[in-house]
């Protein structure tokens, strides 16, 4: 195992993040504040409580998930797409590194960045609502797993993308709708029965539900199922990445 390489990639990517520190922090803080104003205050004044939790607090896990998933995906996809775009990928391909090491470096950095922003949103939300975290360890575990799995997805998108438009396409067309429809801002028990069934096909439901459980102890689906879903998703992404490196798809001729 080439640990020096993993660490080098990781630090190199993290430095990119810290170079744009202000943007990295200001943008999620601002958008979270806006969500609290619009959803928490405007809608929250009519809904009051969901499953025994104030609406403002109820949306916090969903908000964190929304940002973390989008950030992990876009960070990882950009991280690997950029070397492809400017041609520096030659160095990764000619270096004594395995696919696992490249993935560990890029995905690790992307997941860390997303996690960092997730924590900032959590801190921001303390200024708006009262929240207690019922299962802090589980919360950290869910957050970490989500960051990693979506960074893996982002890595795949970055390898697949042929231009900057494609890089934005999946996060915009797939992830954002899935997160919005995955119970970020509502409990799926609030939906009509038919939509409850349809929603269960959305993998994001399981992640948000599990994450919300770690905050409030209540969930839309069982915690075991949530864990299984996230493990399945991570496994599928890893398998796909393994196949990419084995075949050289879109990177090695």
């Amino acid at each position: 195992m080439n640990f020096n390489a993993v660490w080098t990639i990781y630090i190199f990517e993290m430095r990119r993040f810290f170079r744009t520190m202000t943007q990295s922090i200001v943008s999620p803080v601002l958008s979270t504040s806006l969500y609290f104003v619009v959803f928490g205050t405007a809608i929250g004044s009519r809904i009051q409580e969901v499953e025994g939790t104030s609406y403002g607090a109820f949306i916090v896990p969903g908000l964190i998930m929304l940002t973390v998933m989008t950030q992990a995906t876009s960070n990882a996809s950009f991280g690997i797409y950029f070397p492809k775009f400017i041609g520096t990928i030659y160095e990764l391909l000619s270096a004594p590194v395995s696919f696992l090491e490249i993935v560990a470096g890029y995905v690790g950095a992307a997941a860390t960045k997303a996690m960092f922003i997730g924590v900032i949103i959590l801190i921001t939300s303390f200024f708006f609502v009262d929240i207690t975290i019922a299962h802090p360890l589980a919360m950290v575990a869910f957050l970490t797993l989500t960051c990693i799995s979506f960074a893996l997805l982002g890595f795949i998108i970055g390898i697949w993308a042929g231009n900057f438009e494609q890089l934005q396409l999946i996060p915009l067309l797939v992830i954002t709708p899935l997160v919005f429809l995955g119970g970020s801002f509502y409990s799926i028990s609030m939906l009509p029965p038919i939509w409850q069934s349809i929603t269960l096909f959305n993998p994001v439901v399981y992640l948000i539900s599990g994450f919300r459980w770690s905050f409030f102890g209540t969930a839309d689906v069982s915690i075991g199922l949530s864990l299984f879903a996230i493990a399945l998703f991570t496994g599928a992404c890893l398998a796909f990445i393994w196949w990419i490196f084995k075949t050289g798809w879109r990177i090695r001729q």
Binding site: N2, N4, E91, P96, S98
Partner: protein
């Protein structure tokens, strides 16, 4: 000398069916500078890319320092440094951090002193905190070399290091290469400039249409390249070469208006002066005179014809 890089029956065919390399065999000796000459599209870059691991071979085997590049890729790649043809660099990074990145990527622990020494060797030290985008084209090429040397490789591949580079910088680059050779690095460079190969290589390989046509000691090849022709245009056509000039092995042009004399520029005597004297003695009146050197293209054409 032992071969540090050994390429055996290497073939590379792309998905569309294009065969970029056709059963290439090549041994690169430890410590030498090998120049791979070939026209555009000959397969030079594909050969280098395949040795370095960027391209996957269709068949055949490559060993670097005795390590197979497929089955023992880590050990093989650690020995290799690659300077690509295109200037591929992260524009927003500093010189130091990008070179340091390369070192870590190849598994070496961080060593700022080593990186600084490499930057000094390439006259880049005063630019170490500059962003890549602030550098000139020549400096960027040096950064690419510094990156390739960051992990102290034994074999350095330079893919067209002087393509599109001005004369002064090209000479500068040759000095860099000579310095690297002196430090014990084996260097393989591709080029389509014969002067470049002539200036710095120990051996020259000629590649065309995915085949290595020859690999020869520079001195031998230059002797072959050193043949020149002189064309003597006559005021009046001759039907036959005068007997006084028979010893010169002249060729008569079809119209009889010119004579062609081949000579070796590397020889002590070219025989031109005596030929011109004898020409006058034989009563032939000279109208014009021009010389022609066999070019790399001629050699290519001849070689390709021979192998066809």
């Amino acid at each position: 000398m032992p071969a540090i890089v050994s390429v055996q029956n290497l073939r590379k065919a792309y998905a569309g069916g294009f065969e970029a390399l056709k059963s290439v065999n090549l041994d690169i000796e430890d410590g030498e500078i090998l120049a791979l000459l070939g026209p555009n599209g000959a397969g030079k870059t594909t050969l280098i890319s395949t040795i370095c691991g960027i391209t996957v071979p269709t068949s055949g085997s490559i060993t670097v320092g005795g390590h197979d590049t497929q089955t023992d890729f880590r050990a093989a790649r650690k020995l290799i440094g690659l300077v690509p043809q295109e200037i591929n660099l992260e524009p927003f990074e500093t010189v130091f951090s990008t070179v340091s990145f390369s070192r870590g990527l190849f598994g070496k622990p961080r060593d700022d002193a080593k990186v600084e020494a490499i930057l000094k060797q390439l006259s880049l030290h005063d630019k170490k905190d500059n962003k890549i985008m602030m550098l000139s084209g020549g400096m960027k090429r040096r950064v690419l070399i510094a990156k390739a040397l960051a992990h102290e490789p034994q074999v350095l591949f330079l893919d067209e290091p002087t393509a599109g580079v001005d004369v002064e910088l090209r000479k500068d680059m040759w000095d860099v290469v000579a310095g690297l050779k002196a430090s014990g690095v084996t260097i393989i460079l591709t080029t389509h400039y014969i002067e470049e190969a002539e200036a710095i290589a120990d051996r020259i390989g000629v590649i065309s249409k995915g085949e290595i046509l020859l690999v020869q000691d520079k001195a031998d090849l230059m002797a072959q390249m050193g043949r020149k022709q002189i064309q003597i245009e006559l005021a009046q056509a001759v039907d036959d070469i005068p007997s006084a000039l028979k010893s010169y092995a002249l060729e008569r042009a079809d119209d009889g208006l010119s004579l062609i004399y081949s000579y070796d520029t590397t020889g002590e005597r070219t025989g031109i002066t005596t030929l011109l004297n004898d020409l006058q003695k034989a009563g032939l009146q000279m109208k014009d005179l021009q010389t022609r050197q066999s070019s790399l293209e001629d050699i290519f054409v001849d070689l390709v014809k021979e192998t066809a």
